[in-house]
């Protein structure tokens, strides 16, 4: 492991529509453990944001506490970040989003931060349908405090000390679907080919997008007997559908491969998610089917990944609250202060 991040990049790195190379989306050297799944997630976010040509400084990255919540430090260093308190990122990002509807909000959380201390806030940011991308780097273990079992650890999964987890694991993806999230996916930090298109689609989705990313902890939860180790996840993964993301500016040129069923889902901005169905053919725009598919695979000991559910045309919180088109943080006295004449009329109503 090196202590300085090399600034050397290939001189002819591809540039995106903004003329930026991927370097403009990077962050400083990670201090997470070598091989940590979270760094792969960071790399996927960098790639997705670059490919979507999002201006890096128009992204806000928010997190709570834990290894996952440290991760945003290591990507998008042109973006403002907010490393808040444990389990409370959802309320912070709600306020931030209310203040400025024009930025792209990425919330980065973990299984402890979301499924335990932050469960209440998570549930409510989902049902609020805040326009954001909420990521859980899910490793089933508390890393910073050295290896305690978390609330998403599967029942029967073994801890590093060899103890069985006796309690039920929480499935955040099905919870999110039940609570009204309008984009829900599950992925694996070790599968960039799946994760990057999902991230791009989620970032383009208007409304609450949630991706539960299984992200193995190499230090505390990568041993035989763990159901969140690299080996276990690779062996038990079952893909709902292979997704491809087609931005609004591009036409769909590639035909659907022969023998595969494709389903194109158009997002509100005109971009398209193309799903190649594999195995079970279920409709990702049907909540009940999505939950049932996850449960069905879980019963077989499989982890269903890919896009699980999407409702591309649901209202987000700004639409529900009918907030002004100008971001609230840009309004001045003229728009905000009714002035003394109005106040005198108000006084009269109290006489």
């Amino acid at each position: 492991m090196s202590y300085q991040k090399s600034s050397f990049r290939h001189p002819r790195l591809p540039v995106n529509d903004l003329g930026l190379t991927q370097q403009a989306y990077e962050g400083p050297l990670s201090t997470l453990c070598a091989g940590c799944g979270h760094d792969s997630i960071g790399a996927a976010i960098i790639q997705a944001c670059h490919e979507l040509s999002l201006p890096p400084h128009r992204i806000a990255k928010l997190s709570g506490i834990g290894c996952s919540s440290k991760a945003p430090t290591y990507f998008l260093n042109k973006a403002h970040g907010f490393n808040s308190v444990h389990g409370r990122m959802p309320s912070i990002v709600t306020g931030a989003n209310m203040a400025n509807k024009e930025l792209t909000y990425i919330g980065m959380s973990g299984d402890g931060d979301t499924a335990a201390i932050g469960m209440g806030q998570f549930a409510h940011v989902v049902r609020r349908r805040l326009n954001m991308l909420y990521l859980v780097a899910n490793n089933g273990v508390y890393g910073l405090t050295k290896g305690q079992t978390s609330a998403t650890a599967d029942r029967g999964s073994k801890s590093k000390k060899g103890e069985d987890n006796l309690l039920e694991g929480i499935d955040l993806a099905t919870m999110a679907i039940q609570l009204g999230a309008t984009f829900v996916a599950r992925s694996f930090s070790g599968d960039k080919n799946e994760l990057v298109p999902l991230l791009k689609a989620a970032l383009s989705h208007r409304g609450f997008a949630f991706i539960d990313i299984i992200s193995p902890c190499v230090t505390f939860n990568n041993h035989p007997g763990s159901t969140k180790s690299y080996d276990y996840v690779r062996d038990h993964i079952e893909t709902a559908s292979v997704s491809d993301f087609v931005p609004v500016k591009e036409e769909i040129t590639s035909a659907c491969p022969v023998g595969v069923t494709c389903r194109d889902i158009c997002l509100h901005d005109g971009s398209i998610i193309r799903l190649q169905q594999t195995g079970d053919d279920y409709d990702p725009q049907n909540r009940a089917e999505a939950i049932s598919a996850v449960e069905h695979h879980k019963a077989k000991g499989e982890i269903l990944t890919g896009l699980l559910y999407v409702d591309p045309f649901a209202e987000d919180l700004h639409e529900v609250l009918e907030t002004s088109d100008t971001p609230l943080n840009q309004l001045n006295e003229q728009a905000l202060c009714p002035g003394n004449d109005v106040l005198q009329v108000i006084n009269d109503s109290f006489r």
């Binding site: 128009r58 912070i92 006084n347």
Partner: protein, 617 residues
């Protein structure tokens, strides 16, 4: 039979069953006196309950302008609750008047010899006049207001005007209500020698005033102060701050072109999230607030620590109620001074402001946003249930249209271009306040990580001791800056002659009782100066006031003398120099209580031996 005699100086206490619509009738009574130009102070003593429990409503009228709770028992009781008849009878002053529903005779054992009974068969009248059981209940209240008009000589036209105002838009309710007033008025005129020896007479003492509750005024302060994002969770007695904010914002914060809202109010799942919403919005450059009471403060403490350390400007409105824990949720106190001043773990301190009347709720409520953004730290507005939920006579609210919001030290894109290297926590100006940037400002400069962890001048995480010390010492420097720019304490001096100088420190709603107490003491030849604290950290004038006096009383509404503790701790005052005067039974402190405590102390031992406590009515 002794009869209390008084024109324009008395207390009427209504005893009702909660959930029967009595509070609005009682408010109509108070407002009628106000519209006759009289200073009046209505106070609702309501239970934490929806329906069926005893509730009281006390109205003090005082042409002299004494509007704190008087205490000592009412001059007139309107006893409409059979559950509390005996207690209400006992509460009355000798020679007072007891208005009751004589449909059912009073039990002889509760009747006192030294009070005047006024029996009106209100239920019987209602039974005769109304078919609908709901109307029979509702109009009872209006009938006794009509009777009081005759008994106390309230101008009937004024009452009619109030009914018309109240039912604007529901015109068909006007005539039945005026009819009910007339029923009461007529019965009293025919059966009693009206007016009584206590009565009102038109005055000009309250002509220019308004009558408004503190929470509405605070909400207007937030609206005029430019608040755009509100995170909230309902809790008595703060709920109406946010409800009023939304009510006015729905009218006054609509974009004329699009019809869309220039604000966002998010009802959160709890107080933790409510303040989180405000913090997130403030981080992103919006003026943001939340409102809560004691139990909410406990929950918000974690986030207050973050906002202090991460230097985020939010406004927190604390409408205090009696604690600890759930305490007495519908009773007033000033019990959160220490919890708010030092909220959260680690070395934290917060800026507090203490409004004492609705006008100040409005002014400090608006100013809080300027101060929070100037100081980049939470500002907590310390109201209380008495101020927040009761109507008070107040000077009219005023706004200077030249006012420009002070958004504090924020760098925009052009300014960032001129900076060689932006350091979020570089104390460029030496006042402890550094420059911040809003997210999304500049493509390549000014981005940083906001965090609750220790960091260096450039917002980079650090656990190096000297970097930590440098940062927390700067926060202290910022607090010193705060002490210089916060509203100064209001100091009033009397003529002392050569006697030893006595001072009285107070704050918030204790002010109205303290001012009256000083008059009471002055009448007895005891001159007392006063210092009304309006903000924490304390300005120099507070330390000076203590130094200038031989003996200083600190009057407040909590058991432990929390402001006194704060003064001792922050100003390094000898505890013996500050004598606590503490009232904490959940009802507002009275002038009698303060003056008696000070008098007793002055007659007795020197300061050090007595701790004046025990709240009594």
């Amino acid at each position: 039979m002794q009869k209390i005699q008084s024109v324009n100086e008395f207390v009427v206490r209504f005893a009702n069953v909660n959930g029967t619509g009595s509070a609005s009738a009682n408010l109509m009574f108070a407002k009628a006196l106000f519209r006759m130009g009289l200073p009046v102070a209505p106070r609702n003593e309501f239970p934490s309950n929806i329906q069926g429990m005893p509730t009281w409503y006390e109205v003090r009228v005082s042409e002299a302008g004494h509007l704190g709770r008087r205490g000592g028992g009412p001059d007139l009781v309107v006893a409409m609750n059979s559950q509390s008849l005996a207690r209400d009878m006992r509460s009355l002053l000798p020679g007072g008047y007891f208005l009751y529903d004589s449909t059912k005779p009073l039990e002889p054992e509760i009747v006192r010899e030294d009070v005047n009974l006024i029996g009106i068969p209100i239920s019987e009248i209602c039974l005769r006049e109304y078919e609908d059981p709901r109307q029979r209940q509702l109009f009872k209240n209006v009938i006794y207001v009509g009777a009081l008009a005759a008994l106390l000589d309230i101008e009937f036209e004024v009452l009619k005007g109030l009914v018309k105002d109240q039912f604007k838009g529901k015109e068909k309710l006007i005539i039945p209500n005026i009819y009910a007033l007339e029923l009461g008025h007529q019965y009293a005129s025919v059966n009693f020698d009206c007016p009584l020896d206590i009565r009102v007479k038109r005055s000009d003492k309250a002509c220019d005033q308004i009558m408004i509750d503190g929470n509405t005024a605070t909400a207007l302060g937030a609206l005029y102060g430019g608040a755009t994002v509100c995170g909230w969770y309902p809790i008595t007695p703060s709920t109406s701050v946010v409800e009023s904010f939304m009510k006015y914002a729905e009218r006054l914060r609509i974009n004329p072109a699009s019809g869309k809202k220039n604000y966002a109010a998010v009802q959160a799942e709890d107080e933790l999230a409510a303040i989180g919403v405000a913090i997130g919005a403030a981080w992103n450059g919006a003026r943001a607030f939340t409102a809560t009471s004691g139990p909410g403060i406990s929950l918000m403490t974690e986030f207050l620590g973050l906002a202090y350390f991460a230097e985020l400007p939010i406004v927190l409105i604390n409408v205090q109620r009696a604690g600890p824990s759930t305490g007495m949720p519908t009773r007033t106190q000033q019990p959160d001074v220490l919890a708010c001043a030092y909220a959260s773990h680690g070395d934290t301190k917060h800026v507090l402001m203490f409004p004492s009347d609705p006008k100040e709720c409005f002014e400090l409520g608006a100013q809080a946003f300027d101060l929070a953004e100037r100081l980049q730290t939470p500002v907590i507005l310390m109201s209380d249930l008495d101020l927040g939920m009761n109507d008070h006579i107040s000077a009219p609210l005023a706004w200077d249209d030249q006012t420009r919001y002070d958004r504090g030290k924020v760098l925009n894109a052009e300014e960032l271009d001129e900076v060689e290297r932006f350091g979020r926590y570089l104390d460029v100006d030496g006042d402890g306040i550094c420059y911040r940037t809003y997210p999304g400002t500049h493509p390549t400069k000014g981005a940083f990580f906001t965090r609750g962890t220790s960091r260096d001048h450039y917002a980079v995480y650090s656990e190096l001791g000297d970097i930590y010390v440098d940062n927390v010492d700067r926060l202290n420097r910022k607090f010193e800056t705060a002490a210089k720019i916060l509203p100064k304490a209001e100091i009033q001096t009397s003529k002392h002659g050569k006697k030893k100088k006595v001072g009285l420190i107070h704050y918030g709603t204790t002010a109205v009782a303290a001012d009256e107490a000083i008059e009471l003491l002055e009448a007895k030849g005891l001159a007392v100066d006063s210092c009304r604290i309006r903000a924490f950290p304390f300005g120099e004038e507070v330390a000076q006031f203590i130094e200038d006096h031989d003996l200083v009383f600190v009057a407040e509404q909590n058991r432990d003398g929390q402001m006194r503790t704060l003064l001792i701790n922050e100003l390094e005052v000898n505890p013996k120099e500050l004598v606590p005067v503490l009232h904490y039974d959940g009802l507002p402190i009275t002038a009698r209580f303060i003056s008696e405590q000070i008098e007793t102390h002055q007659q007795g031992e020197p300061a050090k031996t007595s701790t004046l406590k025990v709240a009594s009515r």
